[in-house]
Symmetry: C2
């Protein structure tokens, strides 16, 4: 349901700087260290959790995580960048120090399991054939196994939390379960939107969908970290809002790159999202702008895709203000994220790790 | 993943009495009262839970539960017999009285949500088109919505438990999550078995699969009830074993009825399971019996179904001892169930409700 935050190739640099205020200038090195450390912390928890699965289901899970090839031999595939567990651990450490970080490792692994359960199911629903440079699990093991392993990963996540004696565990479990419902809602809205005419989709709807699909679990990860640090409700909610806003900024920028990014760097053919008639944020902003560009775009989107129309489509979105809107919205969401971060963690030195991660996901510092 | 315990029509009476010891002679009336009371207790919890879903997903859930037609108008469909929530509540009451029963209502609803999440997903995986006399949810709302609503029901179940302040809630949540993994394992084994040659499936495998698919959640329901009564570990485990054994007895009897039951009463065409080459318990017992009937059955099962072969197939299973084995196994499992019940609840007066439910699911008293 959520985007993976792990695009197939590096994002183009400098594409979406406009309107955004770069705060970190370390080129993502701090974020990379935080992510590596998070992966080291949660991987043993994930491996123990998978050991509870029967052999064939474990194989599907380990394949999906990039640890094994379909035949069970070790693989050097990517398990994703561990953004969400890193947010759990970094939020816990920022608000509660090293002890809180250590206490939150299990919850961080649970959040990663939930994220991957939704990816397994999304790929089945969307019939997507590639994930993290490899064939999706359902194309390798069949739809039934992909559904079952997704179901089992959700159960494993909740089992880990139910067995966690930390006083924050029940609230974290409730928050994660509520987030799963929101993720389902986002995926549902996305699927339903695909079959509707372009002029029937409002900007509010697509923003709500993007927040549910992408922002909700990023926010939840931050909130769970705060819970394990024993933070008060206000700080927990502020960190949730921080993650949601940063997640939405990420989605806006990702959509911009999907249209204006360099195919050589995004790893996707030029115009793939437009060819698929995706109702991405810049497209819906353009369609609902009431400009001449909107009418032209609606006519183009109403007809089957023709490679020859690609440039005209891109230009129509630009003329209708879709790109400018998305970039200024992304900057606005990042500003909101920073406000919420400062509310939750007033000391900039303590907030620095979360800031680095937020910038990493939106690639503003790249 | 689990059988519904709610066949499309009444089971034939007297079919499977052989070898079984009838204890209750009230024709299921006590069980019917317990089930009605359970439905009354948990339905408000379920309705509140569904209110947390977005409108379209709520519609799928309410349709699946038999409360609404596809267009959202009220329906008088059956939501199933509420066996599992009734087991939770009856176990809680037997071990902890009325207060424990009242405290366990939320957990009983959570168990019912888990059961229905697995049914929604099983129907997608098995491409089953009918459930409780109506078209399955995926045939009405599409595969994506059936998967998403299943995911959301699992999340709702865990959310209810995570928000339940009762001291037993975390252990119940962990037990239910572990049970989901076992249900997935059973469904996985069942799906994998379908594509294997009949002579490659062992009786142990098919018994393990049936226990995981059918016994595990029945046992879990009983154990959850015991947890809410504050029972000690021994009683909790004994009630789990009671439910597992009764669930397996149910499955054995259900498989016998699938072959020898009166189609006019089972609601299924004669030989439907055999035509589908199902590796049901009596069939695998026959195939692995090493008798001449086994060889004949293997030859018949190895060829495409021919209506003219139905009688020969049924007779081969009987000659190979498949029917006798299943009936004596069912009696044996029920005897084990009774032993475990007496261990957990020595006072027969207190154990009476659980006994009535066990007999109801195995229809020994009908």
């Amino acid at each position: 349901m959520a985007e993976s935050l792990t695009p197939d190739a590096e994002r183009p640099s400098g594409e979406v700087q406009e309107g955004a205020v770069a705060v970190h200038a370390d080129d993502g090195r701090e974020a990379a260290l935080i992510l590596d450390r998070a992966r080291e912390s949660v991987d043993p928890e994930l491996r123990s959790a998978f050991a509870l699965l029967p052999a064939q289901m474990r194989r599907v899970a380990r394949y999906h995580f990039g640890w094994e090839n379909p035949d069970g031999t070790p693989a050097d595939g990517s398990a994703g960048k561990a953004i969400r567990p890193a947010l759990v651990l970094t939020a816990a450490e920022a608000l509660g120090g090293g002890a809180a970080r250590a206490a939150a490792v299990r919850a961080a692994a649970a959040v990663e399991l939930v994220h991957n359960f939704t990816l397994l199911h999304d790929d089945v629903m969307d019939r997507d054939v590639t994930r993290r440079h490899r064939p999706t699990a359902w194309t390798v093991f069949g739809t039934a196994d992909a559904i079952l392993v997704g179901d089992a990963l959700q159960a494993l996540a909740q089992m880990m939390l139910a067995r966690d004696p930390h006083p924050a565990a029940p609230r974290a479990a409730a928050r994660i379960a509520a987030c799963v419902i929101e993720l389902c809602e986002g995926q549902h809205a996305d699927t339903a939107m695909e079959s509707r005419a372009p002029d029937e989709v409002t900007l509010d709807e697509v923003l709500t969908m993007a927040e549910a699909k992408t922002g909700a679990l990023i926010g939840c990860a931050c909130a769970v970290g705060a819970l394990y640090a024993g933070a008060d409700d206000e700080a927990v909610d502020a960190l949730d809002a921080f993650g949601r806003a940063a997640g939405l900024a990420f989605q806006l920028i990702d959509d911009v790159i999907g249209i204006w990014g360099d195919p050589g760097r995004t790893g996707k053919p030029a115009g793939a999202d437009l060819a698929a008639r995706k109702k991405s944020l810049p497209v819906v902003a353009a369609l609902t702008s009431g400009t001449p560009g909107a009418a032209e775009l609606a006519a183009l989107y109403g007809a089957p895709y023709d490679q020859g129309d690609l440039e005209r489509t891109v230009l129509a979105i630009e003329r209708a203000g879709g790109r400018d809107w998305a970039q200024s919205q992304a900057a606005d969401r990042m500003a909101r994220a920073m406000d919420q971060l400062a509310r939750a963690i007033p000391d900039p030195a303590l907030a620095d790790g979360l800031l680095a991660l937020a910038e990493f996901v939106t690639r503003r510092s790249s």
